[in-house]
């Protein structure tokens, strides 16, 4: 197996809070990698730093064989990292289909001139965008909601739509921030199938999740953050029995 993402010594401080302390981790090509930890451990901060939304104080990333430029989010997306957000961020007043079409922005070209002339190249590109977006809606199982505004979708469907939009950017690594949050058991089960399907299609997944059953069942390897520090990185079976992890989760009843 080859390494897809390597994070080295990532630190991030918010005033007095050390949200990330020298976090290093490696994610292998094709695996589902879990990132867990108590509330406020720094998981989302790690995503924000990785995706260029929030600058790191120190440390660097290596992605797909080259250094990753995290100075702007669109560069990270172009390099092949897509993400979803813990507190769902959709384009609320665009249709579900349009949301996914926006995800194709990066991989398409048409500019002002093309848009105004609507020449053959632009028309075929637009058709391709719409076709791919529809495929992705289908893939995540909400194709019948394509024309609905994103804000009118159910919570579970919004999470799926966010995944479809992220997939539209053609990522090598998909980073999901608590995708099962707020989902009922049925929805979570379907989500699990979806993520397994993604891995089956060759995608690498970085997963933040509080649903321990989901993480332990799904992930190939898991890292635990606690107060901004990585305390362990191992297969789920080892992680759940590790005393440091049990202590981090207050008495060990959770894991």
């Amino acid at each position: 197996m080859s390494v897809l993402l390597e994070a080295t010594g990532i630190s991030k401080r918010f005033g007095g809070v050390e949200a990330l302390k020298e976090v290093s981790l490696t994610i292998e090509q094709g695996e589902i990698y879990g990132l867990i930890g108590p509330n406020g451990a720094g998981k989302t901060t790690f995503f924000n730093v990785l995706t260029g939304l929030s600058g790191a104080d120190s440390g660097h990333f290596h992605f797909a064989g080259r250094p990753l430029d995290i100075s702007a989010p669109h560069l990270v997306a172009a390099a092949g990292i897509a993400r979803t957000f813990q507190n769902i961020r959709l384009f609320a007043n665009m249709s579900a289909l349009e949301n996914v079409m926006v995800g194709r922005h990066l991989r398409t070209r048409a500019g002002v001139v093309g848009a105004v002339l609507r020449n053959a190249a632009t028309r075929s590109e637009e058709a391709g965008i719409a076709r791919r977006a529809l495929e992705l809606l289908h893939y995540v199982g909400i194709s019948e909601r394509g024309n609905d505004l994103a804000r009118h979708l159910s919570y579970g469907d919004q999470r799926r739509l966010e995944i479809a939009r992220a997939l539209a950017t053609e990522p090598k690594l998909l980073a999901l921030d608590e995708p099962a949050a707020g989902m009922n058991a049925t929805e979570t089960g379907a989500l699990r199938q979806l993520i397994e399907g993604l891995r089956g299609d060759g995608l690498t997944v970085l997963l933040i999740e509080h649903d321990v059953k989901l993480v332990m069942g799904l992930c190939d390897r898991v890292a635990v953050l606690d107060y901004g520090e990585k305390i362990i990185e191992d297969v789920p079976a080892k992680v759940r029995r590790d005393p440091k992890v049990i202590e981090a989760y207050l008495g060990g009843t959770v894991v």
Binding site: L53, P73, H74, A77, A82, F91, N93, H105, T122
Partner: protein
């Protein structure tokens, strides 16, 4: 919902007939002063469409938009008037005005990229005023803009050598200057509508709306928000630049007072009242807000005379008063604007299922 091609053709033909006949109907029915009002309405429609790209599509509240109108107007004035003795043709100056205004759009947009909402509004307001103040004061030590006196005796717009300012006789039909300008402005307004509609339904248009909806998500989706925002500023400004050039050629006079903050506010009201982000709504907003105040200005005096035997409120203050009232009423009862897009109407209604 697909409309048969035949009906589309019929619709286009109908619109063409109405637009061609309009100046005659208005001119013969109400006098040529009203055709002039119509000409100004068309300029305002172009401005509103330009501002709509920035405010309506990309969601960037710009209170200094009139600056681009000013830049287009002054560029025309400087390049086609006795002021510098230059007499460039309109077909060269108008596109140049679009280009220069577009560049200024980028220049003034760049420092505001990190700002949103109120902060953006205040900074753009400042920029708008700075441009106006420059125009007011660039008459010494070197006289560029002729200061508050403005620039007069600007060349009228010529099409194929024919000045639009002079009446024209075609096949026995008498066309006064205001009619000729009307036809030119209609054509250009239609062109701007066409460009806007095409842009709206494109990769670029979707990126603008995505930024309006959630800038962070747009970034994470791989949109280079800096470039896409600057593009919105540039496109919007270029429409303003064209309208400004037309204004200068039409009026044959420009001075800084035509480009006050109140004008920016007016254009913003056209966008918001009409229906932000919805092209037909914005056109309606531009038309209404350009025509209604004139109607009031002309109608308020005589109506009061008739009702009370004398003029109680001077028409100018009444105009502002009613304008404010209309604003409040629309915002209260139609917060998405008079003619919002279907999406936006839902946006302001109760959440759906």
């Amino acid at each position: 919902m697909s409309v048969p091609k035949r009906n589309v053709r019929l619709g286009i033909a109908l619109i063409a007939v109405v637009l061609s006949a309009l100046p005659f109907a208005v001119g013969l029915g109400m006098g040529n002063a009203w055709v002039r009002v119509l000409d100004f309405a068309l300029l305002y429609i172009m401005l509103a469409l330009g501002l709509n790209i920035v405010v309506g599509f990309a969601g960037l509240l710009d209170l200094g938009y009139i600056a681009f109108y000013a830049i287009g107007a002054y560029l025309y004035a400087l390049l086609a008037s006795p002021h510098f003795g230059l007499h460039w043709p309109a077909w060269a100056v108008l596109p140049l005005g679009a280009l220069v205004a577009g560049l200024f759009g980028i220049l003034l947009g760049a420092p505001t990229l990190r700002l949103r909402g109120d902060y953006l509004a205040i900074v753009t307001l400042g920029f708008g005023e700075i441009i106006r103040i420059f125009l007011n004061n660039l008459n010494s030590p070197v006289n560029i803009t002729n200061g508050p006196q403005g620039i007069a005796r600007i060349d009228p717009i010529r099409v194929f050598g024919v000045p639009l300012s002079k009446p024209l006789e075609i096949f026995g039909v008498h066309l006064p200057g205001v009619y000729l300008y009307y036809y030119l402005f209609v054509l250009l307004a239609l062109g701007i509508i066409f460009v806007t509609v095409r842009l709206e339904d494109s990769r670029i248009g979707r990126a603008w709306v995505a930024i309006r909806e959630d800038e962070i998500a747009a970034k994470a989706c791989g949109i280079n928000t800096r470039n896409v925002k600057l593009l919105a500023f540039a496109m919007g400004a270029s429409f303003g630049g064209v309208a400004g050039g037309l204004f200068a050629g039409f009026q044959e006079f420009v001075s800084p007072e035509s480009f006050s903050l109140m004008e920016s506010v007016m254009v913003l009201c056209m966008v918001v009242l009409g229906g932000m982000g919805h092209v037909p709504g914005v056109v309606l907003g531009g038309l209404l807000l350009a025509v209604l105040p004139e109607a009031l200005r002309h109608g308020a005096g005589p109506v009061q005379q008739m009702l009370f035997g004398r003029v109680l409120l001077d028409p100018e203050s009444l105009r502002i008063l009613l304008f404010g009232l209309a604003l409040i009423l629309v915002m209260q009862y139609r917060p998405a604007g008079l003619w919002p897009s279907a999406t936006r109407r839902r946006e302001f209604s109760k959440p759906g299922p």
